[in-house]
Symmetry: C2
Subunit: 296 residues, 2 copies
């Protein structure tokens, strides 16, 4: 993994924070608490992996513009909204995220629901702006793709499967579908949106989709591996969450060694899809190594 990669990842995360602060509503008026809650959730740091993938894909395809960053901000708003709602007591009931109280703990449940709703709404408001891309049809495609990726046939669908159908069923097809929807759909969107902004051809979009899907699944398998391997490691860290619940994971199905092999294979698939782009793909190729080797 190149240090160029880590520099770029950190730089994008820092700049993303600035762009997000610009697109979020300034807390004002008698409704300002919901705007504060949106900022609390969205400006809390993080790797910003989805914006990174979007921006670096556009760059690989030769396109840079402030509109790329706005699209990435819209995508991150959807990601943050999903975390706020997933953390609610009626869903995963989590009190902490990245070491800070979750939104319903720092504020209250009503504000957590509303701040999530508002971030989702804001994402579409951002994408409709002319500054995102001069071509109105590309903006509309970014909007319909984002809605599809985050709706019942995308992220929300994955969350529903996770809650109702994913428990205790050691079914690889189902867990692959669950992950493809719950976390894969937005990573797929990140890469495809980067391509669309750059005016990528249908052939390029196919390559990018193959890359994104392999990367997204490898990301989830690594999550499952960390969930188990973390057990005997770093004390006090909350791991074994899914395995402890008896939930099906790639590790429970394939074993630890099998899951690692599968992740490696997916990494090769992801990199192969980027072969046509030669050295321009160096940063995205490094992101594959990053996903496969990450420790948290």
């Amino acid at each position: 993994m190149s240090s160029a990669f880590h520099t770029r990842l950190a730089k994008i995360a820092t700049e993303m924070e600035t762009v997000l602060a610009q697109v979020l509503p300034e807390p004002a008026g008698p409704q300002k608490r919901v705007m504060e809650a949106m900022g609390y959730a969205a400006l809390g740091g993080g790797k910003r992996l989805r914006p990174f993938l979007l921006i670096e894909t556009a760059r690989m395809m030769g396109y840079e513009s402030p509109g790329v960053w706005q699209t990435a901000a819209a995508l991150e708003c959807v990601h943050v909204y999903s975390l706020i709602h997933d953390d609610l007591p009626c869903m995963d009931d989590d009190d902490l995220r990245r070491g800070r109280p979750t939104v319903h703990k720092a504020y209250d449940e009503a504000l957590a629901v509303l701040a999530g709703d508002a971030l989702l709404t804001l994402a579409f408001e951002i994408l409709a702006q002319e500054t995102v891309h001069p071509d109105a049809k590309i903006r509309l495609k970014l909007i319909s793709d984002l809605a599809a990726s985050s709706g019942t046939h995308g992220m929300i669908g994955g969350q529903v499967i996770d809650i109702y159908a994913g428990q205790n069923e050691q079914d690889e097809a189902l867990i692959t579908q669950l992950q493809a929807l719950k976390t894969g759909a937005l990573m797929h969107y990140a890469v495809i949106a980067g391509g669309r902004l750059a005016g990528a051809s249908e052939g390029d979009l196919r390559n990018l989709g193959t890359f994104a899907d392999a990367l997204g699944l490898a990301f989830q398998i690594r999550d499952d591996i960390l969930d188990v391997e973390g057990d005997s490691a770093a004390m006090g860290k909350r791991t074994g969450k899914d395995s402890g619940l008896g939930k099906a994971t790639f590790v429970s199905i394939h074993g630890l060694a099998g899951a690692k092999t599968k992740a490696k294979e997916l990494g090769i698939t992801a990199k192969n899809a980027l072969k046509p782009y030669g050295h321009k793909a160096d940063i995205l190729n490094a992101s594959v190594d990053f996903v496969l080797n990450r420790q948290k």
Copy 2:
């Protein structure tokens, strides 16, 4: 109030049900419960006043097309999502809506949150479709207007004020702002969207906006009047909800007679704004009488 009006209102409500059934996802796959919950909420009948205003405004401006109905369906998806989330235990905690269990009672809280999220997402997916209007810029305007009307400077903002700042403050400016955002913003959107689809001029859009804002406020004042007058009437009906909570309403500020006068004045303002359209405005003018005289 003409019987032509009632016929038209009922006809639109019936046809709207068909259009909504078409745009909602077919329940299928391991995530089908959320699709069922969306249908349960969205296909439960109702006056469909917002779709009616949108469709009749477009018609008054000389425009009819299946895209008008799709836009109305997107707007209704946003309205229904807001009802599902408002009914949640952490918000208004209502068990019944239109005599049926609310979504979190018929399903559960997690599905109510997710079904609401999915309806909001679907609204933007619908509006991005080419069948809504051939002009991509009009579709983008419909999207950004809908996001603005339903976000922190629109409907969500009004809900936040209602929860946190609206209680026990007998402040007419605040309650007017609350209602302009919470219920007024989507009614404003309905009328303006009808105008935009029809390619209305800036001058026409100003007239339509004046009509919509006066109608929306009259609608809310009538709600407050019914909340009080209903007390001694129809037995078993849940009225006196807001007045019983000591919440500020137009009646608590102006008294019953004062509120009725104010509603009548707003009705005149609404009708005056439609004078330039002569008899073409008959149905929308009748909707003003309907709002002022409704008994539920």
